[in-house]
């Protein structure tokens, strides 16, 4: 294989190479520095006279003396079942001092789109043990449901709690967790690893770590590596895989960095115009395929810059994923864990996973009624600030109190508390107890008949 010593420019994470033989788009590149160090990259743009290479480990130390070799192949991840229990770096190399992984095969990390016709519609309720998810924003196997967080909010704890507690009722097998960290701090990584080890979850996990001080460009391949591993485990080894990607905001920053280095015309807030397609190629790698036993459920985490849900990263993510779990700083300040704000949260696949035989016949009604009461109660708080509580009608006062109780009894739970869905629904009914029957307009008469009396008694 030819080596070229024809580097023309080096700019940011990019290297421009001249006078090469034809090079394939997306091909892997190896660059040997003058001090013998090797770096890897990928072809971003190829033409007869100039090839643009993005270097994963950063371009420091690359000069005109460096030798460039085009490997004639796209980036592939070596996979095998032995990956379970292992910790890899952002580029897929083991960093846990364990033995090399002997690959069963190598898979292209870009991944192809699942033919929509080959997809199986998700239908299995996942019990996470967290009421605000299980009851009001239900996670379904094969779904991609991101957590929209902000800096300083406990998204990592929630992600871990989900990873620890997630199970499909009636199914014995536990989820295999593929965890991809992009640009998180060493401290956060330690926190995750400690929890994985303490709970024994590591044995059924594959961990990809790209830390804050690792090269930013490497972050662009980390989620793709993780999802390639997940697809292998799910669709070739029949496992149910839960993929946690954190933090997608760092990923998008890297995407912007590359775009700027290539002098592309920027889109909204400087992010490249193709960010939607790029994110879709990550998030869409979740789901179930007809005739395959495994599945991929995805929980990406992103921190919204300035808690702004209209920020391009959150916005585009919301358009691709099937809902979102939104964390609230206000609830967090009130000391409520998990600080999940149900009002802007949503699970688009919820209706597929709930109801009789799946959870319980009153699930949808209870969820709708909780939403309606809480939304109205929250609005009333604004009113109280102006006119005082005395000016409210009796109904309004009830709703106000109900909203308060919703937060302290329904939302609030212990970090280790694994609530069964029936318990969660029970708490919901208890909140309805003090409310007159006819005001529960979202609940069908038959269900009120069945559940309301007991709730009323508990309220007394």
């Amino acid at each position: 294989m030819k080596e070229y010593k024809t580097i023309k420019d080096v700019a940011g994470p990019l290297v421009f190479v001249e006078k090469t033989d034809p090079v394939g788009y997306g091909d892997l590149v190896s660059i040997r520095l003058s001090n013998g160090l090797l770096k890897n990259g990928q072809v971003l743009d190829t033409s007869e006279d100039l090839v643009v290479v993005q270097v994963f480990e950063g371009t420091s130390g690359i000069g005109k003396e460096a030798m460039v070799k085009f490997l004639g192949d796209t980036i592939k991840l070596p996979v095998s079942e032995d990956m379970l229990g292992r910790i890899l770096n952002g580029a897929g190399k083991p960093i846990d001092n364990g033995p090399e992984i002997i690959p069963e095969k190598k898979i292209d990390i870009i991944g192809a789109a699942i033919n929509p016709y080959a997809r199986q519609q998700p239908a299995d309720f996942i019990q996470t043990g967290i009421s605000t998810i299980d009851c009001t924003n239900t996670l379904v196997r094969g779904q991609k449901l991101p957590i929209f967080s902000g800096s300083g909010l406990p998204h990592n704890e929630i992600a871990l709690q989900i990873a620890r507690q997630a199970k499909v009722l009636g199914a014995e097998e536990k989820f295999v967790v593929v965890f991809a960290a992009m640009g998180i701090t060493n401290e956060e990584a330690q926190y995750f690893m400690a929890d994985f080890e303490r709970t024994g979850a590591l044995q059924r996990s594959v961990v990809f770590l790209n830390l804050a001080n690792d090269p930013a460009v490497e972050r662009l391949v980390t989620p793709r590596m993780a999802l390639t591993a997940a697809e292998y485990l799910a669709f070739e080894k029949d496992m149910h895989v839960l993929v946690i990607l954190t933090d997608m905001t760092n990923y998008c920053e890297s995407l912007r960095e590359i775009g700027a280095a290539r002098e592309e015309i920027p889109g909204r807030r400087g992010y490249p115009g193709y960010m939607y397609t790029d994110l879709a190629m990550i998030y869409e790698r979740a789901g179930i395929i007809k005739g395959k036993r495994g599945s991929i459920t995805q929980i990406p985490i992103l921190t919204m810059p300035g808690d702004d849900i209209t920020h391009p990263i959150a916005d585009l993510t919301g358009y691709i994923t099937e809902g979102q779990i939104v964390l609230s700083r206000e609830l967090h300040r009130k000391g409520i864990y998990p600080p999940i704000d149900v009002l802007p949260s949503l699970s688009r696949l919820m209706n597929l996973g709930i109801g009789p035989k799946k959870t319980r016949e009153d699930h949808k009604n209870v969820s709708d009624q909780l939403y309606a009461n809480y939304a109205e109660g929250r609005d009333l708080r604004g009113l109280v600030a102006i006119v005082g509580e005395e000016a409210l009608s009796e109904r309004d006062r009830r709703l106000l109190k109900s909203a308060e109780e919703f937060e302290t009894k329904f939302v609030q739970q212990n970090r280790l508390e694994d609530r069964a869905i029936t318990d969660t629904l029970g708490i919901g009914w208890n909140l309805f107890g003090p409310i007159p029957k006819q005001e529960l307009t979202r609940i069908s008469p038959e269900l009120k008949e069945k559940f309301y009396k007991e709730a009323k008694q508990v309220a007394k």
Binding site: Y25, S47, A112, E264, Y274, Q324, L383, S393
Partner: protein
């Protein structure tokens, strides 16, 4: 025609946009890229450089690989077999792709839009010696049970029919010949081609004069859409846009449905693909799929094919319109389409317009929506129509962004989905204050003739109450509802009834999911009658608190979920009247 150079070579590859030289090409020519012959389309010509957007992934393609020009532009195959099909953005049937390459979409696979082997039973209606022209009906094929597919003379062909045969044919068999004025003979087949970017010609465009009945109360009553009209549904994410569109596809009274999932979520597309085949057509009792064409291009499928998908869809819609059918086309979402245009434009390094969208965005949107309409087709007296319902997904729910704004300039019905309403579980979450329809007056005669003369009056009254409520709520925000005059407290109560019993509808309830115009009217009438009677009781000194507590009001709600709505609503009217009288 001069010799054209059909084979050139690639000189640059950067994602979905590639550059070739040494080839003669015209704009929008279909080309084949590289040794794997990936499909692409010429989108720019710079001197001897030809810029091509590729519909498939370009990884591993090298400069120097060959490029072939097919000399044709991107076209769809039109003929029997379209209905019940599930296509990707460039009319490749997804089930066929799955058979050929497995569960994932790989590249370099070709598949025709129509089944080339299936034999169709063709019954000729035209006779030998007839003089025919573009669009004339030659005969028909029962494409799916009860749906007659008219076989038409293809574009540019006219003259005398020298031969026409009934019998069993594949789409490639010759069914007859036409001899034109120059004595040239043209073969006739069951199929024809049409370039997707070109609107199919019509004899005349007509004014819309009848509604598209959707069975969704809020659309039918307050924000009516005309057949041949254009509606935009903008909705911030989480506002229930997809459910609304699917409800419309299931229930609206068009004869043919074309559903384009453009940049959609994979799982949601699957929901459409798995649900549609199980749906029965409320009118015929047959599967709804029998009159549906689905186009699915998920967000992670190649961006150029996403750009093409809306054109593929509307061309198919126009084809059925030309047979004299009413077609409804749903595009979810045109924002994804606009973003695909932006993405390709930025790869071409074009000068960006607003928010990075290309400067030609508004032209392209207008051109697309202009393909909707009620028309007089070329070959038949029967009118046909294409109604377009385009979803828009404004980033951050901001309606001032370019795609929404440019769409609003050309659409006459606006169904504004509101995330706040969705959060309160008010579905369909159509904001009644920001939505509008400009067809209400145009369609008034139709409603008067076909439903009841008081229709326009009732919808107008409901709207008025809702408008009043908005103003009153501002005051309530400040002083609380008890401080309002009694008359206005009653208005708030009426508005609540309208919101809960007219506007809200449960898509998942077997009865409430589709509501006839008569039922919608009776619900409106019952609420308004209560309001009137209560108002007059108020004038006669009855306290508002008593009126607010009237129990039989809730029965209006029960009617939503019951087949015998007339009995319940008439009963409710009587009971409410009696209760009010008892108070006075």
């Amino acid at each position: 025609m001069k010799d054209v150079n059909k084979v050139g070579k690639l000189i640059r590859i950067a994602g979905p946009v590639v550059v070739a030289t040494g080839i003669d090409a015209e704009m929008y020519d279909l080309v084949r890229i590289g040794r794997e012959k990936l499909m692409g389309e010429v989108i720019e010509i710079q001197n001897d450089k030809i810029i091509i957007q590729v519909y498939e992934d370009t990884s591993g393609i090298k400069p120097g690989e060959p490029v072939y020009n097919t000399g044709k532009s991107l076209s769809v195959e039109l003929g029997p077999g379209l209905l019940t099909s599930i296509y990707d953005g460039i009319q490749r049937p997804l089930p066929v792709l799955r058979d050929q390459m497995g569960d994932f979409i790989l590249r370099g696979v070709d598949a025709s839009g129509l089944d080339q082997k299936k034999k169709w039973d063709f019954k000729a209606t035209a006779k030998k010696g007839d003089s025919v022209k573009t669009g004339s009906f030659l005969g028909e094929v029962e494409e799916t049970q009860g749906n007659m597919h008219k076989i038409m003379v293809p574009f540019g062909v006219s003259g005398k029919l020298t031969e026409i045969n009934s019998g069993k044919f594949t789409v490639n068999d010759i069914i007859g010949y036409v001899e034109d004025a120059n004595k040239k003979t043209h073969e006739l087949k069951l199929k024809q081609y049409w370039p997707v970017r070109l609107p199919r010609p019509v004899a005349k465009k007509l004014m819309p004069n009848m509604p598209l009945i959707t069975g969704q109360r809020v659309f039918d009553s307050l924000f009516t859409l005309a057949k041949g009209g254009v509606a935009a549904i903008p909705g911030p994410f989480g506002a229930g846009k997809t459910v609304s569109q699917q409800q419309l596809a299931k229930w609206c009274d068009a004869e043919i449905i074309v559903y384009i999932g453009c940049g959609e979520r994979g799982n949601e597309m699957t929901e459409v693909l798995t649900e549609f085949p199980h749906l029965t057509d409320p009118k015929t009792g047959k599967p709804l799929m029998n009159r549906t064409v689905l186009i699915a291009n998920t967000s992670n499928m190649p961006v150029a094919a996403r750009e093409a998908s809306v054109y593929t869809g509307i061309t198919i819609a126009e084809y059925y319109r030309d047979m004299g059918y009413d077609v409804a086309l749903m595009a979810d979402s045109t924002s994804r389409w606009a973003e695909a245009m932006r993405e390709i434009s930025s790869r071409l390094e074009e000068m960006p317009g607003e928010e990075g969208y290309p400067a030609y965005l508004s032209t392209k949107l207008a051109q697309f929506y202009e393909r909707a309409g009620r028309v007089q087709p070329l070959g038949t007296k029967k009118e046909g129509s294409v109604t377009v319902i385009g979803a828009v997904s404004p980033p951050g729910g901001d309606f001032s962004e370019p795609v929404t704004q440019n769409t609003l300039r050309v659409t006459k019905t606006f169904w504004a989905l509101d995330a706040k309403l969705a959060q309160r579980r008010h579905f369909p979450s159509i904001n009644w204050l920001t939505s509008y329809s400009l067809y209400l007056d145009t369609l008034e005669p139709w409603f008067a003739d076909n439903v009841a003369p008081d229709w326009r009056q009732l919808t107008g009254d409901c709207m008025k109450i809702l408008q009043q409520e908005e103003k009153l709520l501002e005051i309530v925000q400040l002083v609380g509802s008890d401080a309002l005059p009694e008359k206005e407290q009653l208005t708030l109560d009426a508005a609540r009834l309208i919101r809960e019993f007219l506007l809200q509808q449960n898509a998942y309830h077997e009865i409430d999911t589709f509501i006839s115009l008569q039922k919608t009217r009776l619900i409106m009438k019952t609420i308004l009658q209560y309001y009137q009677q209560a108002q007059s009781a108020l004038e006669h000194g009855v306290r508002v608190q008593k009126l607010l507590e009237i129990k039989s009001k809730t029965e209006i709600g029960n009617a939503k979920f019951n087949k015998d709505f007339e009995g319940i609503l008439n009963g409710a009217q009587k009971k409410m009247e009696a209760e009010i009288r008892a108070l006075g």
